[in-house]
């Protein structure tokens, strides 16, 4: 395939149709309203698009400021072409995709909003190299509590290292500021962690290979 054909194929893959957009939007919303519960992105999207980009492709509209922290600016440009979003620096983006969760910017380096305008905080899609499954108190990698959770949601992320998930324990903001996040595994499994959730290390936290 020529470069142009590759570009055409990659661009074409990133256009979400109406039903795909609606489905992803609903999933993302449900995940934030039920923190720590495991959801799955549609398999056909996972097969054709890097998982971290799916929320961006569903949510970005014309001129929406976004950033894809990936080290590959061509992917950012493909997202901009597909959505008409506007590429900006990560610190001021309304939507951010993070390919490697071990970066220093995560979680406090993005826009956290202000007490008067908490709605201006970024929404962040983070990829980890694991697979999310529901767990129990004894098997869970993460414990999630807070609004939307009746007691505690336990979740495992098999295959992800602790260094990939540590950013969840470094969240240090005062409500109503903070990030709303979706943490997405390689297979499209994901959880939503809104700014109001309390996340702690589970009993199997140190069982991952570091």
């Amino acid at each position: 395939m020529s470069d142009t054909q590759i570009e055409a194929a990659e661009l074409s893959a990133r256009f979400l149709d109406l039903h795909e957009s609606q489905t992803v939007f609903r999933l993302l919303l449900d995940a934030l309203s039920q923190p720590g519960k495991v959801f799955h992105l549609p398999a056909e999207l996972v097969a054709r698009i890097p998982v971290v980009e799916v929320p961006l492709l569903a949510l970005l509209g014309y001129d929406t400021p976004f950033s894809l922290v990936s080290g590959d600016s061509s992917r950012e440009h493909l997202i901009a072409r597909a959505t008409s979003g506007r590429i900006v620096e990560p610190a001021v983006a309304a939507y951010v995709g993070v390919c490697d969760s071990r970066i220093d910017l995560l979680p406090m380096g993005f826009c956290l909003g202000t007490p008067m305008r908490p709605d201006t905080a970024a929404q962040v899609s983070v990829q980890v190299n694991g697979i999310f499954t529901s767990a129990t108190e004894s098997t869970g990698t993460l414990h999630v509590r807070g609004p939307g959770v009746e007691t505690t949601n336990h979740v495992s992320c098999d295959g992800a290292t602790t260094s990939e998930l540590e950013f969840l324990l470094r969240r240090d903001w005062t409500a109503p500021r903070g990030l709303d996040m979706w943490i997405i595994g390689v297979d499209g499994s994901f959880i939503g962690i809104p700014r109001t959730s309390h996340v702690s290390a589970g009993r199997s936290w140190n069982k991952g290979v570091s």
Partner: protein, 143 residues
């Protein structure tokens, strides 16, 4: 003719004539390996005007458009047309890609359609002006 001028003509071409022509070119194999990159989507474009008093821009509103992107044998094509006609937008995008690939001289039927479109636009312009110029007025001031 520049690619932009060609696109402009394709945006104004009669929708049925354009679709019919593209379909016939596809049917006889003159245009092949078409891939949909961006399915036709109808939306709006924002329109800004710079007014002449303060030279300030303001938004007057939006226009309804339909946009489509295709690939023809690896060459990307794009079209945007006023209104909601998805088929016409796709046809124009295919034409844009194909002409970018083979040149206007490589597809005489499209060259003819584009030329005809320009001619029609010019004729409409002339007819319109011919009517309007008869209303030119020169008032006399009374002493």
């Amino acid at each position: 003719m520049s690619r932009e001028d060609i696109c402009s003509s394709l945006a104004s071409s009669d929708a049925i004539a354009l679709e019919t022509l593209i379909n016939s070119l596809i049917a006889r194999g003159a245009i092949a390996n078409i891939e949909m990159i961006r399915p036709p989507s109808t939306g709006t474009i924002q329109m800004q005007v710079r007014e002449p008093i303060c030279e300030e821009r303001f938004i007057v509103g939006d226009a309804l458009v339909t946009v489509a992107e295709v690939s023809v044998a690896g060459t990307l094509g794009w079209a945007m047309r006023l209104g909601g006609d998805a088929n016409a937008a796709v046809a124009a995008a295919v034409a844009d890609a194909h002409i970018a690939r083979v040149g206007l001289e490589g597809v005489p039927e499209l060259a003819e359609l584009i030329s005809f479109t320009q001619l029609e636009l010019d004729r409409t312009e002339e007819r319109e002006w011919a009517e309007i110029r008869e209303t030119i007025i020169d008032f006399e001031e009374l002493d």
